[in-house]
Amino acid sequence: MSPYLDVTGLNKRFGGLQALSDCSFKVAQGRITCLVGPNGAGKTTIFNAITGFLTPDTGHVAFRGASLDGLSPQRVVRHGIARTFQNLRLFADLTARDNVVAGMPGHFGEEPLGAIFRPFRTSRALAGKRAAALEVLANVGLADRADALVRNLSYGEQKLLCIARILATSAELLLLDEPTSGLSGAALTEVMALLRRLQAEGKTLLVVEHNTRVVQQIADEVLFLHQGHLMAQGSPAEIIADPKLAEIYFGGAL
Amino acid sequence: MLWLNLLINGLIWGCALGMVAISFSLIFATTRFFHVAPAAVYSLGGYLAWSMMKRGAPEWVALLGAVVACGLVGAAIQKLLYERLDRRGATHLVVLIASLGLAAVMQNAIAGAYTSNVLQFGLPWANRTTSIGGALLTNTQMLTVCFGVLSYLGAMWFAHRTLLGKRIRAVASNPFLAEITRLEPRRVHIAVMAIGSAMVCIPGVLVPLDLGLQPFGGVPMLLTATIAVIAGGVGSISGAFLLALVIAVLQNLSLLVMPGEWSIGITFGIFIIFMLFRPRGLFTG
């Protein structure tokens, strides 16, 4: 049986900088895998390569046995993979609910002809989508903020909304780029609980994460990247105890 | 030898166009905003010179006066309009709309003050011809070539040899670093608008010597120059000037196969081809 997500031999150069160097790993279904490593280690580059935002120089990505090589971001989503961005990229002039509706897969009324000539069907479809969007928002704990403009949401609420928006795509593999950065206290606890709940609902998560506490609490598997190399892979306990990391960090030769 | 005449005409016209292109290149590369207002400054320059001459000023005084006045107008536009918009965090769209508005105000103020009919300078010396290597050139044409080449050389010297020129290029190259090394980008922007506006005034005076003054001639001129700037690579003075020559020559040679009214089509065709194959210009990496 082929692995759920299979990444093999990714290489990417930006000018003189080797951003990714022969990165291969597999992600198992239903697990939370955390990508960790210092800035510039290549974590976001891996996300970009998987989701079609950039083409690696060499290497392949396969999801549930199907190759994703050369697909546009738009097509990758249809295979059931969705991602969030470090800088959120929410639609700030839209309400929380409309952001979620925008994430839902192609539906009636998204074409002008349907919207004009079948107004009642569009209304019904829209009402359905809006109700479904409310459910998604409730799932992340934002039901009471559904009709607030994104620009008026707190940062923590915006981060939750990012997750809600990709949940709406009904993707099964979620790539979350720093879902907890900039959060503390209750907001942090809330996001961690949400990630666990998503796992329980059957989603598979690949998460770029900096916060050790979060990694220890949520990760089933940790991938450690350093300067584009995949240095270690294992359970959080194994990785944290790995003396190799201290050496890389405090002055050992690479 | 029609084609040779057209070629020469193209080169002359290209010199005038090149001055507008250099001016636009300077402004666009530094401020990163697409300004339409220089089109109106171009028209303004000609009318100012015309007015001064009608009041008895010698030709060179009128030209110089118009250049200085246009420079001041450019600085004022930057200070009073664009800088204000910038401080309010206006988007590109807002700046562009304001710029369009300003161009409309200036052009129509000119049309209101001078009528929108074509005015002639009526200078006998301007149309006297000299034969150079078999080709007959009017004094205006020779002046245009001289000023065009001088402007190009002057702009190159200014940008690469003077401190202000280097500072302008520095602001264009990395505005953030300019801010934190006290290069004062806002003041540089004012200087750039002043210099650019002064330069666009020169063809604004020279071209009407031949064709007469009209308030709305600036927009097609600016558009063509913009195309030269983009095709030549934004920020490259040589690229802008060279492409202005090329476009002008092609426009003129196209007269061999189609009537002159369609030259805008030729220009535009060149632009589309560039956008499809080299969207970042000829002289950029």
């Binding site: 700030a92 009324g109 002008p112 919207a115 829209l126 | 300003l102 129509n108 927009v219």
Partner: protein, 287 residues
Amino acid sequence: MDFFATYLALAEIYVLLGLSTNLLVGIVGIFSVSQAAVFGVGAYITAFLLMHSSTPFPLAILVAAGLCILLNILVTLPSLRVSGDYFVVTSFGIQLLGTAVFTNWTKGTGGANGLPGVPAPIILGHEFIEPQEFLLLSSIGMGLGCLCFWLIMRAPFGGLLRAIREDELAVAALGKSVLRAKVSAAALAGAFAGSAGGLYATFLSFIDPSSFDLDASIFLLTMVVVGGARTLAGSVLGPFVLLALPQILALIDIPASFAAALRQLIYGLLLIVFMLFRPQGLLGERL
């Protein structure tokens, strides 16, 4: 009374045109200054069909709208490849090219002298000659336009367009086709502009290039900006306010040649003042 009916009918036609500009510039964020050229194409095609063939009026409008849809898709397509400022240049070029065609293709358009004698619309044997009668047609046109605009903006399609304006990349990351949405929006804007052109030509029975030049594009932009970008109310209000301006100027005794310049100058001034002090216009949203 004729005077007032003429004003209303013209304003209604311009509402249709304003919707076209608002959709592209305000909603999707494609800065087009060539909508007047598309408007012109609609007008000339309708005029041509009515003058040189026995095409019934409704069919002529439909053909004009259809061709304008194709044309607008073509002229908007570069915005997919060329970003921001470069597209503005493209759009200016298209507008100037349009003016060049209207002015120089004398056989088809009558050139600078214009095209007189465009027949009044005939529907079911009834000829709409008087402004009061035509008002009925233009009201229907405007009503349909507004209805379409409202239906689209409340549908998911409207949300998609606004999302594209804010962040194309994020839209693609959600699995949506930016290309398809932009083409659809351009098509709609073309249909609005084309049918507005048809109404305009038959209402005035005379068209010339000056109604479809760069100044006209700026006028369109002014209507949208003053009324308020991004909203239906803004697009409706703008033309009624701005078309009242020449009527007011007509009350003051100034020479006709001067009046045109003054009018255009005031439009420009309005653009500057609104951008400086009220970018959202009278009834619009923040630009």
